[in-house]
Symmetry: C2
Subunit: 475 residues, 2 copies
């Protein structure tokens, strides 16, 4: 049986190929018969379920409640908000027939649910006592993709979309940043540092007053928009009539937010942590945290399997599995679990089963370590924490050392990473940047929001710069 | 403020109206702008999440893995299995446009995923070593409904669909019954007894060789199909090429099953347990298991609220909430939580807060009880178990006393419940029954599967009877 290691293209050779190879070799997902849509396999979906469970717990602790609205939206609802429909029309899937008949009113498959939910919010919200309203949906949405990429760009994807309404702009804006903070935290849970801040006018969500983002720098230096949190102002409220009677006895429009996080986060995990041997999973979201690989001959099999099971039974509360598959070489199994990014491998041969030290392989460092078998659970739990921290530190180190300060377009070379530059923030200049360098603004970092730009002149137009921004190519 | 009790139509007056009223007054769900589709509100969705979490845990313990396939199915896939397409064509929602263009190949929104998954199963399954394959999806499906009813019949619904493949018919058939047993068990978890067994040829899933069902008798005597588990034989395997190379070196078609359980189970819970005051929730799936209602005047408010919080803090691990809403009468609050079916209410007034006994209201019996406050958690946990058992016993008693043995069509009167009769099992006779009495066979009870019919003559045709069956009107 050939080594599966060879089936992964090195990152340095072709990062896109590497990504596709890892998705396949780690058995995360594959293309489906429906162009643009993917099939997420058990190992990939389990990662999503682990992320979802954690984020869901945090939302609930924050008082957010879950709700379910229909997947179909009357097309006319989408047309009600002008910017919104312009943003999403090109990506819609449209249902024209239902129950054997042509529909009088065509339905869009939801690309996002503002236009599905807010007409109902208008009924639910009558008085200031009905506010704030903070609801969330875990569901599937469809945005037609011409150039699909696993997890990052599929026509259908799983996500959560929070939709909230407040009496005042102040409360709404405060929640935008609070939810963005939750997204930063869930990325930290995945050992990924993010760059958080505002989006430019051009990159803003269609229909929003302000979009904020957490951006993830991945190992080819490109950026992944990790999640977004939007202040919608009263744009949708005016269109759908989301009004409340205030304590002052007058009618006011509600201030609304929406915020979303999808399984493209799995794409970020793959690209932020993966190496030439495949996936490296942060322990918190690893479906298998510890893989035990027994290495035996026929005569030692019983003893070694028994010892393996003993080790497994000690590791309560840890997601641990024994690879009992027969007829595969140790090397094949090692490569297999390395490609799947399992954080710790415990190799158990005759020596280990005879009461000697255990042999551990750490996927974050790709090194073997010896460890005595006593008090194993506590030590493995500590090691999982160490691996988390180490992955986080590696990613942070990478991100911090791949930001290139530039003062003019001439300085843009093929460097890996983000470009930091002082910018005038005009949509025209961003359009130019995109055309010439396939690059857009990614984020106005929060730390620079209230700071003067380092250079008073815009690096694109030479006009007056407003802030320092990060620019990068992106997925 | 008027009593909300009056807003629920008595069951005896109009059971359908009663159901709609309870769905509204318990704040479970409402109709959406999209005809046939509903909005499930936080309280209703939480019930679904609690059911889902439990069933999901049981599937996982049984080795079933979760997967996600696209919501869209190429129409030609659906047409591949003749019975399957005949069964589902009238209910399809069809996407004809995507990404701003007319699609060359139209897509169906999945009504169920056999035709979406099995072409891929054909790729995944090559050898007997790849079997059994046991996968499940939690997702949304669409079946166009002309006469929608909350939870029970909406055009879009949430469910799980398991899809498995085995080397032999024997293994496949054994799993059909095992999964049906899991459905029986999850209904028991909801304090609902079921009638389990086979469906008739006419009521069989479109494309299946055998359909099994768990049927729930609800309080107007009608039946709800609670979940189904199908043996598909090699019908789909032949169409989609799901084949494996056996140990014998020959190619064989895989034997396949599918099994599904949806949020119509919430409809069954409402109708099996509810009374004229609203919902009665079994504790296992109650979003709030204990509601504390403080009853105070201005001068006692501080003391009573403090005591209420103390009681709440003692009930760790129980889903407990204090109704701190101001300006509502105790009576209003009592009706409110009774309509929502909260199993236990603890009423805390001045006397209780002064260290006297607690006053509890049991929703299963609609009676008040006194209880000393010491060792409260243990006693409340026991009471929740008692309430579960009592609801289960009530439902069992109802079901057992509402089966009417009949020997001929003449004996069908307007009785509430199931009719038990010896039947020839011919589709024609079932068609006649449906036309004349709006009634079909619900289930060949497992206990009667291998027993001789009580009457040798069919109660419809007078021909030779094969088994004793249950017949009923249904939702």
């Amino acid at each position: 049986m050939s080594s599966n290691k060879k089936r992964i293209t090195p990152q340095s050779q072709d990062f896109s190929e590497w990504y596709q190879d890892v998705v396949r070799e780690a058995d995360l997902a594959e293309a489906s018969e429906v162009r643009g849509c993917g099939i997420v396999k058990p190992y990939g979906l389990k990662i999503w379920e682990l992320i979802k469970a954690e984020l869901s717990k945090r939302f609930e602790a924050d008082g957010v409640e879950n709700v379910y609205f229909p997947i179909f939206i009357p097309i006319e609802n989408l047309h009600a908000e002008k910017e919104h429909v312009e943003g999403f029309s090109p990506e819609l899937a449209v249902v024209t027939h239902g129950g054997g008949e042509k529909l009088v009113n065509e339905l869009a498959v939801r690309p996002t649910s503002e236009a599905a939910m807010y007409p109902t919010y208008a009924k639910w919200i009558q008085s200031y006592k009905d506010l704030p309203l903070r609801l969330n949906q875990w569901n599937n949405v469809v945005r037609w993709e011409k150039r699909p990429r696993p997890f990052l760009r599929w026509s259908e994807f799983l996500w959560q979309e929070g939709h909230t309404a407040f009496a005042t702009e102040e409360e709404a804006r405060a929640e935008v940043w609070k939810m963005l903070g939750m997204y930063r935290d869930i990325y930290e849970y995945m050992a990924i540092p993010v760059f958080m801040g505002k989006k430019s006018e051009k990159e803003r969500f269609a229909g929003a007053v302000m979009t904020t983002t957490v951006e993830v720098m991945v190992r080819d230096g490109k950026s992944i928009q990790g999640a977004t949190s939007h202040y919608l102002g009263t744009n949708f409220a005016k269109v759908f009539g989301v009004k409340y009677l205030g304590e002052d006895g007058k009618e006011h429009f509600a201030h609304q937010n929406s915020w979303g996080f999808s399984w493209r986060s799995i794409g970020a995990v793959i690209m932020a942590h993966g190496d030439d041997n495949g996936l490296r999973l942060p322990p918190n979201i690893a479906p298998i945290q510890v893989i035990i690989t027994p290495i035996y001959k026929e005569e030692t099999m019983g003893k070694i399997l028994a010892f393996s099971r003993k080790v497994q039974s000690e590791l309560t509360g840890i997601r641990v599995k024994i690879d009992e598959r027969d007829g595969l070489t140790p090397g094949f199994k090692f490569n297999h679990w390395e490609a799947k990014g399992v954080p710790i491998r415990i190799e158990i041969g005759d020596k280990e089963a005879s009461g000697g030290e255990l042999t551990l392989f750490r996927r974050d460092l790709n090194v073997r370590e010896k460890m005595s078998a006593d008090n194993l659970k506590v030590k493995i739990e500590q090691l999982l924490r160490d691996i988390h921290t180490n992955l986080y530190n590696q990613a942070t180190e990478f991100a911090n050392t791949h930001i290139h300060r530039i003062e003019s377009l001439d300085e843009i070379k093929d460097q890996v990473g983000y470009f930091e530059a002082s910018w005038c923030e005009s949509p025209e200049s961003e359009k130019l940047l995109k055309e010439k360098f396939s690059m857009v603004s990614r984020v106005l970092p929060k730390k620079y929001e209230d700071a003067a730009p380092k250079n008073k002149k815009c690096f694109i137009t030479g006009g007056e710069a407003k802030h320092d921004w990060y620019f990068a190519k992106s997925y």
